[in-house]
């Protein structure tokens, strides 16, 4: 593997371990970056355990640096360092370090955009520019968010630890939300092209790490299953000329069978634990979509009813309406979404337009498509809606 690939794979792990050793995220980042710079100079071929090499080198560089500085704080940190175990190689502690880092980055005392940016930077090893492109904000905004978040972690005393039993559900929620947001931004980008594959893969990588770290949490397994089953359909989601292809019209032979099999297995595993949550139910819905030759809409509708009981929201109501239309017809589905309040959400007028056109109410459907086109932010979805509208008028 090249140094770039190792950087992407090992950065988060190394920063997490160094943060434990040094007690300071910024120092840890500097040390790990120093070590990668050294690796570029020194590696003729990749060492057998590149991650351990980076951690050891980073730790030695940090010790050197702290020896040169002479403040009381530096001496204190240095003392801690010198007492650290030699090779942080064991899998256990390294995993714990990453888990601590995930919870630190997703602490509820940080703003949600800062949580996502910090997670992608510190755990995913993404550069500020990459994060900025993904979220369509200026690089300076992202770097300010990251700098402020790291400063708040230090100044407010946000602990670098996994929360205890009592706080866990609330904290885990924030972690799952961040990973889900990262994936969704990749799967349906806010603007430009439809997909940003790197973000999808990064979210899956982090969800896999979390699922390995917390195998007893069914919602974590549920989220991973949901991401895998969604990702499995990606190859069929865009047609030959870059156009959006809806689920019903996708070429199922393009779906990734391996991911589907893994996703189905995970759905079964988490549902067996008997503690259903919104991510598990959404994963189950996607398992039905990817099971056999056609979707069993009755089953999908039953799952949406369950999702509604667990986590009622206008978005759930809207998605449920799609299943209602398949099972009970478009008229009943339309009645169910008439009073939804989702300002700025183009899927609402798009769904209304689809139901209206199926009911033969063409003029109203055209108007709803116009509304959806005006609200859609990415080019591919806009083109898809415009094509649907063109067929009607």
């Amino acid at each position: 593997m090249d140094v770039d690939g190792i950087y992407r794979a090992e950065y988060g792990r190394c920063v997490a371990t160094l943060t434990r050793l040094l007690g300071d995220i910024s120092l840890a980042e500097e040390a790990v970056q120093d070590a990668f710079a050294t690796a570029v100079e020194k590696w003729e071929k990749t060492p057998p355990n590149p991650g351990a090499w980076i951690v050891t080198t980073a730790r030695n560089r940090a010790i050197d640096r702290l020896r040169r500085e002479s403040t009381r704080e530096a001496r204190h940190a240095q003392a801690l360092l010198l007492h650290a175990p030699d090779e942080p190689r064991e899998v256990g502690p390294v995993r714990d370090d990453q888990l601590r880092m995930i919870f630190t980055c997703c602490h509820p005392a940080l703003s949600p955009p800062a949580r996502a940016a910090l997670t992608l930077r510190l755990l995913g090893g993404l550069e500020v520019g990459e994060i900025a492109r993904a979220y369509l904000v200026p690089e300076t905004t992202v770097s300010q968010r990251i700098v402020r978040a790291k400063k708040k972690i230090r100044d407010a005393g946000i602990p670098y630890r996994v929360p205890g039993e009592g706080e866990l559900p609330e904290r885990l929620d924030s972690v799952l939300t961040v990973l889900y947001l990262v994936f969704n931004e990749g799967y349906t980008s806010t603007s430009g092209e439809l997909l940003r594959t790197d973000l999808c893969l990064e979210a899956i990588r982090l969800a896999r790490a979390l699922a390995e770290l917390m195998p007893g949490e069914p919602e974590v397994t549920g989220l991973l299953a949901l991401l895998l089953l969604t990702e499995a359909r990606r190859p069929a989601r865009v047609g030959p000329s870059g156009e959006l292809v809806v689920l019903a019209e996708q070429d199922r032979s393009l779906w990734n069978r391996e991911l589907i099999a893994e996703g189905h297995e995970l759905v079964r595993r988490c549902l067996r634990l008997g503690r259903p949550g919104p991510y598990q139910v959404q994963a189950a819905i996607n398992a039905v979509h990817t099971d056999g030759e056609a979707t069993d809409w009755t089953q999908v509708l039953a799952l949406y009813d369950q999702l509604w009981r667990l986590a009622p929201s206008p978005v759930v109501a809207l998605n449920r309406a799609v299943a209602v239309a398949e099972v009970h017809g478009p008229a009943e589905a339309l009645a169910g979404i008439e009073d939804l309040d989702l300002p700025g959400y183009h899927h609402l007028p798009a769904t209304r337009a689809n139901l209206l056109s199926r009911l033969g109410r063409t003029a109203e459907a055209v108007a709803a498509y116009d509304e959806a086109i005006a609200l859609a932010t990415n080019d591919t979805e806009r083109a898809f809606l415009a094509a649907k509208r063109a067929v009607l008028s």
Binding site: T71, E73, A109, G157, I158, P159
Partner: protein
């Protein structure tokens, strides 16, 4: 150990609560203070008069001016505060949660400056 200010954000635009409600609130917050003392987290607690009792002294070109009223004219004013000493933000937030439930007002959790953290 680190020190945090738990500041009660009192909405002064709301009408004063009836006396028995105020007494019940004081009993609840007093209980939280006792818990803090038992846990060794308590440093100081104080309830404040409404901000219409405030006076601000401002520096002005080597001398000072005195004005009636609070520092900032907003609906929410500092209604009272605790100062606590705990390990980290999570412990401070756990106390703040109890304080918020006891006094029925939002609590701002703010760390005291720690010079040893500045690099």
């Amino acid at each position: 150990m680190r020190q945090y200010l738990l500041a009660v954000q009192l909405d002064e635009s709301e009408r004063d609560a009836p006396e028995d409600e105020v007494r019940a609130m004081l009993a609840r917050t007093g209980k939280v203070t006792d818990e803090m003392k038992a846990a060794g987290s308590w440093v100081f607690v104080g309830g404040l008069e409404h901000s219409d009792a405030s006076t601000v002294v401002r520096p002005a070109g080597g001398t000072t001016t005195i004005t009636d009223g609070p520092f900032a004219e907003t609906k929410e004013q500092l209604g009272g505060f605790w100062v606590i000493q705990v390990e980290d933000l999570d412990q401070a937030l756990a106390w703040a949660r109890k304080c918020a439930l006891a006094c029925g007002q939002p609590i701002e959790v703010r760390p005291f400056g720690d010079p040893s953290l500045r690099r």
